[in-house]
């Protein structure tokens, strides 16, 4: 695999693209940007496969995470909502569907207002479902620092949204 076989690389893309796409989408809020970051990250990964030390998924996650941070540094967000996912709606009525869309949009805006480090920690914990130990390993920081970031992100999100949703 490390020799850079194209067909075998497809297997890696299939296996790891979903969690990486979710990360990029939640970090950037834009499906187009998330797709671009994912594409560039996998190309970079393919070109540097020989340099992988350790787990491929952790290595390619760092490429995607850095791509998101670079994008956030350089570009002011203008696109805050993203398209429907392919999952069937579990909401019964149009009113519930409307509530759902509104919540999604409000949470997008609130997430976008967080500093990148807090957003990243929150997304990794609550969307990607990672443990603090795994997050610390991937981001090269301590469990304590990440707990603090997640706690601060929660408190900031709650401060922004609780009047409407509590």
């Amino acid at each position: 695999m490390l020799a850079g076989e194209r067909d075998e690389f497809t297997v890696l893309i299939t296996r790891y693209s979903d969690p990486l796409y979710r990360h990029a989408l939640c970090m950037t809020g834009s499906p187009d940007v998330a797709e671009d970051i994912l594409q560039l990250s996998f190309i970079k990964a393919y070109q540097h496969l020989a340099e992988v030390r350790g787990r491929f998924d952790a290595w390619v996650f760092r490429i995607v995470a850095n791509g998101c941070k670079d994008w956030l540094k350089n570009i002011r967000r203008s696109h805050l909502s993203y398209d429907e996912d392919d999952q069937p709606s579990s909401y019964a009525t149009p009113e519930e569907e409307l509530d759902r869309t509104e919540l999604r949009s409000d949470l997008d805006v609130a997430l976008a207002s967080l500093p990148a480090s807090l957003r990243e920690a929150f997304v990794m914990k609550h969307v990607e479902g990672r443990s603090y130990e795994e997050m610390a390993d991937l981001l090269g920081t301590t469990v304590g620092a990440l707990k603090m970031r997640v706690h601060r992100a929660r408190e900031a999100l709650q401060a922004l949204l609780e009047e409407k949703y509590a």
Binding site: D18, H48, R152, A159
Partner: protein, 142 residues
């Protein structure tokens, strides 16, 4: 506490931080970067971290926080199920170079593969070098 939407407290003496101007759009609000507030109790954080069961946060003073995060979880759950759009994988494969990248490794880091013929060549080279060195030393001594 549950119905008192103007309450600034959490029921345990701590103050809850609220947006200064709720009329402003969400996007314009700045999140303070100062020291973390204590708006959410540690027990609720532990429940959100998955370290405690929901039964441990069933107290009146935390019900507002718990209800809020259960509501947020409805959307977070949807995000957890998001999949990469089908066309993206094809786009990535089209963009990847047709030929495998060539790895340029310095000769001293390359793996040494010893075959019978290469061992014979190496031995002959060493012998020739040894003979030449010995001859040079003997010539120098005389």
């Amino acid at each position: 506490m549950l119905d008192d939407l103007q309450s600034d407290g959490l029921g345990d003496g701590r103050k809850r931080e609220r947006p200064v101007n709720p009329e402003r759009p969400l996007a314009d609000r700045e999140v303070p970067l100062g020291p973390p507030s204590s708006a959410i109790a540690d027990t609720v954080h532990s429940w959100l971290d998955g370290d405690l069961p929901e039964s441990s946060v069933r107290r009146a003073e935390w019900s507002r926080d718990v209800d809020f995060w259960k509501r947020m979880n409805e959307d977070l759950e949807r995000r957890r199920r998001m999949r990469t759009p089908a066309h993206v994988q094809g786009r990535i494969m089209e963009a990847i170079p047709q030929h495998a990248p060539q790895m340029i490794t310095p000769w001293w880091r390359r793996e040494l593969v010893m075959t019978p013929s290469s061992a014979l060549v190496a031995a002959a080279t060493l012998l020739a070098v040894a003979v030449a060195a010995t001859a040079a030393v003997l010539r120098f001594v005389r």
